[in-house]
Symmetry: C2
Subunit: 243 residues, 2 copies
């Protein structure tokens, strides 16, 4: 399929243009102990050997972009079976010392406790790092991360988030804390509860917290049907919809 009889307008065979590298970088958010986390590797190979970096690698020539993201993440961290979503592509000229590499950013949300990463490939170590400590990353990964965080904040406003990050059973305070962590602000407790209970999203369980030095909180789980329905449909709109 790489035949070169197609000519571009200045009579250069198309193949002459085919000297790009293509990579994928994965921004994997987790949540544990009330902290928003990020999955980072320490690079065991040049360039940027020893630096923290997003899990990412070059795409193979016969591999679809989405498949590549899944493969690379599994290969570097052992993490598998998660939903990776493309969010932005980074294409400045000098982002990689080995040549012209354009990188496609993918992001995902997972329960970090369920995914103990195992370093392999050229990853020296892999760890869940607090968001605030994810700085001075390799390549332009600081920029990629910043864009991923913007995307996450936007998503939180328009679709439900939490099922992917929280354990099976959780308290309303934990859910509220998660939202506060992501958006970097505080909410009024009574109003948060009312709003979240207003949509039919949570299923109250017959269980409560144990061994806490205060009134134990009720546990909830997500109503999966309603959750995925709202994922698709979204949470609100600016303009009324008559029809």
């Amino acid at each position: 399929m790489t035949e070169n009889y197609f000519l571009s307008e200045n009579n250069i065979p198309y193949r002459e243009f085919f000297h790009f590298g293509l990579s994928v970088d994965c921004v994997i958010f987790g949540y544990q102990n009330g902290q928003l986390k990020l999955l980072l590797i320490k690079r065991g190979a040049d360039p940027f050997k020893g630096r923290l970096a997003l899990p990412g690698d070059l795409v193979s020539i016969d591999e679809a972009l989405d498949d590549s993201a899944t493969r690379i993440l599994k290969h570097l961290t052992g993490i598998d079976n998660i939903f990776l979503e493309q969010f932005q592509t980074f294409g400045s000229v000098v982002r990689h010392p080995a040549g012209r590499v354009v990188s496609v950013g993918y992001f995902s949300l997972v329960k970090s406790e369920n995914y103990l990463p195992i370093a392999s490939g050229w990853a020296e170590t892999v760890d869940w790092v607090n968001i605030s400590e994810a700085q001075e990353l390799a390549f332009d990964h600081d920029e990629i991360l910043a864009e991923a965080i913007k995307t996450l904040k936007r998503k939180v406003q328009t679709e439900p988030v939490g099922f992917e990050l929280l354990p099976e059973k959780f308290t309303l305070a934990e859910l509220q804390n998660l939202y506060e962590q992501i958006l970097g602000s505080k909410f009024d407790k009574p109003n948060f509860r009312k709003k979240i209970m207003g949509i039919n999203l949570l299923t109250p369980l017959e269980e409560i917290q144990e061994n806490v030095a205060h009134r134990p909180a009720k546990l909830y789980s997500f109503n999966k049907e309603e959750y995925s329905r709202l994922k698709k449909k979204g949470l609100g709109s600016i303009f009324q919809n008559i029809e």
Copy 2:
């Protein structure tokens, strides 16, 4: 900068991976005579010669992605000085007959009347086409267009739209029609007016319509400062924001 002493983990020099083509495709929305339009070229070269297609071409190896989109659009259509925004990257394996080409989608909104496109390069013709007639495009451009329309609908909900599409002076009915065209639904006139006037977005002019067989409508223009402020800040949020 394309030295090959960096080795990937299986000892293949990085350069061996550098066989991707990279392209840019532009989805340019316009608006004229109450119709949402799309800028399409008829391809004058293989592959897909004679088919309608989004303006797009291969990126040069030493050219940043955003710059490339601007250059390619200008080269094919003569259109210049517009804001192009990246929205999604398309990376399935078989989208281009000449080899593995990954394409980055860009989109923009313009006043079609201000941009009379002139075909050049391998574009045989360039025209503003009604959205509904943009079908069976070359390559996977149907899919790219579908994603661009989704993006546009999402944008309309979260930031002001219209300054880029409407003429300098316009009526409230025209603005409402634009929103209805984009979202594919009808709004209540009094409520639309109240909502749009509630934000300090429009400047009423001392002019009215002429030669219409009914009460002439007042003309408005956009308040540019407030418009760009709301572009950045957004229009609403689901959760309250306490500091």
